[in-house]
């Protein structure tokens, strides 16, 4: 599904050269639920941006669904983002002026679906996250948990190959966080691959596999996998 080989990302200014990722190699299989953890500055966000085709790597190879996406132009990258990737953000990133129906509609508009197709997909996605009755509400009229579920519906509506979640429960209380995680697990059980960046060891444990980043490299192949008997929670505590 997702295969990165020796991906590096260097940010250069006149004075400083920052290596955000250093020859990172990682593969995620179809149907997996992978948690990516690591302290601040470890390269999680850069990894997520490159995985989501929001940034390009300085070097290395990246293939998605069997397609080499390293050398694609902006249009091609946008198309793949639209068709194959669903994004879930920590701060939900719903457009405040649009109601939930129209928010879920956004990626479908760029896909070129006709009105009936879009409506069908939106209603199905909102039904999937339990918000069918709230489709005419504005984001500000929903709770945080509901907003994140709406964002998940938006990510699901296009039928993506995999979801990229960036701290999906970071802005939620524990109850709502649990509900969102239950929903993500359900979606994963239905066959959607999920890559989730998180600070929360509790959440990381619910993934099939854990990947820890440190200084832009893999620190541990699987620090929190369900099969591991001694989780190294202490490593994650300093994370801001």
């Amino acid at each position: 599904m997702l295969e990165m080989k020796e991906i590096s990302r260097v940010y250069r200014t006149d004075l400083v050269e920052t290596h955000a990722l250093r020859e990172l190699s990682l593969s995620v299989d179809t149907g997996e639920f992978v948690a990516v953890t690591g302290p601040s500055g470890s390269g999680k966000t850069t990894f997520l941006n490159i995985a989501g085709l929001l940034e390009t790597a300085t070097s290395g190879e990246y293939s998605l669904d069997g397609t080499d996406v390293s050398g694609l132009n902006d249009n091609q990258r946008s198309r793949i983002r639209n068709e194959k990737i669903g994004f879930i953000f920590q701060s939900f990133n719903l457009i405040p002026d649009l109601n939930i129906f129209d928010n879920v509609d956004v990626p479908l508009r760029y896909r070129g679906f006709d009105g009936a197709e879009r409506r069908g997909r939106i209603e199905k996605a909102l039904d999937q996250v339990g918000l069918a009755a709230r489709m005419k509400h504005l984001p500000s009229q929903l709770s945080g948990g509901q907003q994140q579920r709406a964002a998940i519906a938006r990510a699901l509506a296009g039928g993506p190959s995999f979801l990229l979640a960036d701290e999906p429960t970071g802005n939620l209380d524990s109850l709502m966080a649990r509900q969102v995680m239950d929903l993500l697990e359900k979606i994963n059980n239905e066959g959607t691959t999920i890559v989730m960046v998180t600070h929360d060891p509790e959440l990381a444990r619910r993934a099939h596999r854990n990947v820890q980043l440190l200084d832009g490299q893999l620190a541990s192949p699987d620090p929190f996998s369900a099969s591991q008997s001694t989780p190294i929670e202490a490593d994650l505590q300093p994370v801001a």
Partner: protein, 438 residues
Amino acid sequence: MFLYNLRLARMSLMKQPLLTTLMVSAIGIGVGACMTILTFVYVLSSDPIPEKSDELFAVRVDSWNPESPYDDDKPEEAPWQLTHTDAMALLESDVPTRHAAMRKAVYTVVPDNPEVAPFFNVARMTGGDFFEMFQVPFLYGSGWGPSADENAENVIVLGHETNEKVFGGTNSVGKTITLGTEIFTVVGVIDDWQPHILFYDMNNGETNPVEDIFLPFSITDRREINGAGNTNCWKDEQIDGYFDLLRSECVYVQFWAELNSAEQKAEYQRWLDNYTEGQKALGRFQRPTNNRLSTVTEWMEVQDVVEDEVMVVMSIGFLFLTACLVNTIGLILARFVAKGPIIGLRRALGASKAAIFRQHLVEVGLVGVAGGVLGLILSRLGIKGVQQLLSESDNLAALNLDLLLITFGIAVVSAIVAGLYPTWRVCQLPPAGYLKTQ
């Protein structure tokens, strides 16, 4: 997708009404000022009688001073007007389909009704061909026939206003009217007629209103009248009174001929050349032969109807518009950059740069349309204001469909031009950089 973008644009503009108002105002004021000027230039430079302007010719012969040209700035041109002698001679030609000599005069109208005080009125002394040649519309009656010209008959065609004043707007054909001490018989009353350029006599004020009294030119040859308008003389000659002026080398008569084909024009040109050759033999026309036949639009160019000063004012108008656009660019840029997080989100969700570009282009286009509406309103006010200043030009400028479309075109194109850079800038925003901050 266009309708979707239109909806997004409307929502975006309504979300920040103050900023939107500023942007629309900047475009509207710039376009309004520019269009006010452009309207005047456009109207002044457009053909006042397009149906037949190519068949109407201002006729000029160069009887001027052998030592210097009539106009030092345009030495190749013949004098703007003719001498009375030449005008009367040209009327003898039977080559043109129609022709008319003409000049301005002033008369005192003395109404029969004692309750209406006598008043001055500007008259045009001309030939009976004038009315058909220039397609003058009549409310009652018509122009006079050739015999009235030949016999200098006391016939008169009234303008709409004078007929209203003297005859209460009724059909006055056949009635008499007193001018000074002479009595004239009304043969026709002109309907509303005001070419935006007084093309047949641009030498005496191209934006003046049409005269309200028309009399046979031949009267001027036989009886003394109060002439008006520009008279230019070059020869050191004794002029003691009206009839000396008629025989002098002073020019003050306008002359027009209707020539319906190239052959007819060529034949008339030969006729004029023969005439001037004959005059040379008599000791006149000592300058090189320079007989000119200018169509209405050519004549407008010679007369500098759209003068250099107007072009300068027009440039100032466009500069003002440019200044407004620069402000608009700043406002649009501020607005679009503030939308960075939403744009980043849309990019993450699959919008290409081109899609974002189109979306924001629709938004600036909508600003342009709103600016165009405001610009139109301001243009109307501006034109009214300038008309107040130039009271003689009541009918000078009116926004027709062409100008309406041009106003909208300028507004939309201006807004899009102003929006191109900010739109391009927002397309370059890295989407990843804004997603965390949303």
